[in-house]
């Protein structure tokens, strides 16, 4: 198994820091229109590992059939997605400032835009995994050999369609499919346990026939290692234990930051915290 070396690890950490900075900037620019802050911060390390290291996806191969595909099924976490696309050269920094503004390409849920690297429109929960299955089947049939990476929310797993797709992915033996479940334990109006408990998610996924790995979703080494633990003929589910609002004292595990307004003073405080973030 290929492990990250010190340099690679440092680079991904650095990338994560930039992502958090972009998230802060976009959230500030969004102003009163508010933004999905907490659920974007919980996937920063996952998205950073994927976009800066793991995936074969860049500005130059965006029309190639063989490029890897990414689907942000929990589309509301798009702040992290747009930030990553900016860092790898798809979205200009200035365009990030148009987030949720009139006529923007960057709405509060991703709208498919090939030029900007946004492959699919998402936002209605429970749809992304099915798309991923179609892509994985195509990749195998056409021997394009690309991989598909999907991020689901834990709240999103309330949707029945997620489980239709879970069943199908293992039935079709899609070992080119990697799904992260952002297990931050919260959904819009409360904890998973209050609203709809997922109980033993790992056991559920194993029983659905998935190669299932549970990790600390903020530990880049663990994320990267999990992506190497492929099991032939099985799709891989990575339960990423994360902290909603990760990175800032005011937002960590504070569900009022699910969708909230970032004021100038909180932004300044966050910037200071980000400087010292490890």
């Amino acid at each position: 198994m290929k492990k990250l070396n010190e340099g690679e690890l440092k680079e991904i950490k650095n990338f994560s820091k930039k992502i958090r900075k972009h998230i802060l900037d976009m959230a500030l620019h969004a102003g009163a229109s508010s933004s999905h802050f907490g659920g974007a911060l919980s996937i920063v390390e996952i998205i950073s590992t994927l976009f800066s290291y793991q995936m074969n996806l860049n500005e130059k191969n965006k029309y190639l059939e063989t490029r890897d595909r990414f689907i942000l099924s929990k589309g509301h976490a798009c702040l992290a997605y747009y930030a990553a696309l900016c860092e790898i050269g798809f979205i200009k920094k200035d365009e990030l400032k148009t987030f949720e503004k009139n006529d923007s390409n960057l709405l509060g849920h991703p709208v498919a835009n090939k030029e900007l690297g946004i492959e699919f429109s998402n936002g209605s929960l429970g749809m992304g995994l099915s798309l991923g299955i179609g892509l994985c089947i195509s990749s195998k049939k056409k021997k394009s050999n690309f991989k598909v990476y999907v991020i689901l929310g834990d709240g999103e797993c309330n949707e029945g369609s997620v489980w239709e797709a879970m069943m199908a992915a293992s039935h079709f033996k899609l070992d080119n499919l990697y799904v992260f479940i952002d297990r931050n334990n919260f959904q819009q109006t409360g904890s998973n346990n209050e609203i709809m408990s997922l109980e033993n998610l790992k056991a559920k996924l194993i029983s659905f026939g998935w190669n299932t790995i549970e990790i600390d979703g903020h530990n880049i080494n663990e994320i990267s290692n999990a992506l190497n633990l492929n099991d032939k003929n099985k799709p891989t589910a990575i339960i990423a234990n994360t902290i909603k609002g990760k990175g800032f004292s005011f937002s960590e595990n504070n569900n009022s930051w699910h969708h909230a307004v970032l004021t100038k003073s909180t932004y300044e405080k966050a910037l200071t915290e980000l400087e010292n973030y490890e």
Binding site: E65, M127, S130, G134, K142, S161, A165
Partner: protein
């Protein structure tokens, strides 16, 4: 005229005999021979869709996703985004309503092209109850942008619609109605173009717009009305969306009365599509909408329900006659 499918007399007769669902299955075999990137997806309904031979002959072009329509549409969109020509099929209520939002997001909003075949729509499954009848599909799909709606008049036109959908610019919903021994409207190959209605009979007093199984019934109704001295045009509106507005405007100029006839709810279907155009016309003709009332009421076999709802040629003629007399 057709490149993928052979519209010879034998095929047309066979299709009529086996009905629209099985016609889809038969035509699929021709498509598979000619289209390399074809994929047909079903939800455990291969037999009902007439796909048993297809499943055996072209397993690499066939995918059963189980009884999971939401997943069906997502997988179809994923395949489509990599260049596959994708058909999905299951019974009409499940093809359109169970996965309605997946259709909206993937086909409408994201414009991933998928051709959907709604099997046994309308009242043909009357014995099975209104879980399986489908009187709402046109209405529901019509409100989603970027999806064309085709409603073939007979099995010949079913084959035409399937063929035309492949290279059409947007996703397509093909609504199949009728049973086996489906009356033939088109006895020979003919020119079919999505979005262009077909005037089957030209008259001077009334224009009858019809779709699906009601095209044949309307042609029969026209004969009855002719005998009563009323001259009717009969139109096959095989494309409900995009509706042929220009042709409707032209027809309004020579019509004292518009009639629309459909095996679908009177809410949101052909009648509504015609009315939306008619309402923009100065001095537009009055419009009689004939269809299924806005309720789940009459149960029984296909012919019984159609008769009860007045969707037989005799009752259609009577409704038109009565209305015409009030003008």
């Amino acid at each position: 005229m057709s490149e993928l499918i052979n519209f010879d007399q034998k095929s047309i007769k066979t299709w009529s005999l086996i009905g629209s669902r099985a016609t889809f299955g038969m035509v699929s075999l021709d498509l598979a021979k000619n289209i390399e990137d074809l994929m047909i997806l079903t939800c455990d309904v291969s037999t009902s869709a007439g796909l048993d031979r297809f499943r055996k002959s072209f397993p690499e072009k066939y995918l059963d996703v189980g009884i999971a329509e939401q997943n069906l549409i997502g997988i179809a969109a994923g395949l489509s985004s990599t260049g596959y020509k994708v058909f999905t099929t299951t019974f009409a209520p499940f093809q359109t309503m169970r996965c309605c939002e997946q259709i909206k997001v993937n086909l409408g909003y994201m414009k991933k092209k998928v051709n959907m075949i709604g099997l046994a729509s309308g009242l043909v499954l009357g014995n099975l109850g209104y879980t399986h009848c489908c009187i709402e599909d046109i209405s529901i799909i019509r409100s989603i942008p970027n999806i064309a709606i085709l409603s073939p008049a007979d099995c010949t036109e079913t084959a035409k619609a399937i063929e035309a959908s492949i290279n059409y610019k947007s996703s397509v919903y093909i609504r199949l109605t009728g049973s086996q021994n489906n009356p033939i409207v088109y006895k020979n190959d003919y020119k079919y173009e999505i979005g262009k209605l077909i005037e089957l009979k030209t008259g001077k007093d009334i224009t009858i717009f019809s779709t699906g199984t009601m095209v044949y019934e309307s042609l029969e109704a026209e004969k009855i009305l002719q005998a009563q001295g009323i001259s009717c045009s009969v139109i096959d509106v095989h494309t409900i969306k995009p509706i042929d507005s220009a042709a409707i405007v032209e027809l309004s100029k020579k019509s004292k009365l518009f009639v629309s006839v459909e095996e679908h709810s009177i809410v949101g279907g052909l009648g509504s599509a015609i009315a939306e155009v008619n309402s923009t016309i100065k001095n537009s003709p009055e419009h009689l909408i004939i269809g299924i009332p806005d309720k789940y009421e009459i149960s029984g076999d296909y012919e019984y329900i159609k008769e009860k709802y007045g969707l037989s040629s005799k009752l259609i003629a009577k409704k038109i006659f009565d209305k015409y007399k009030t003008l």
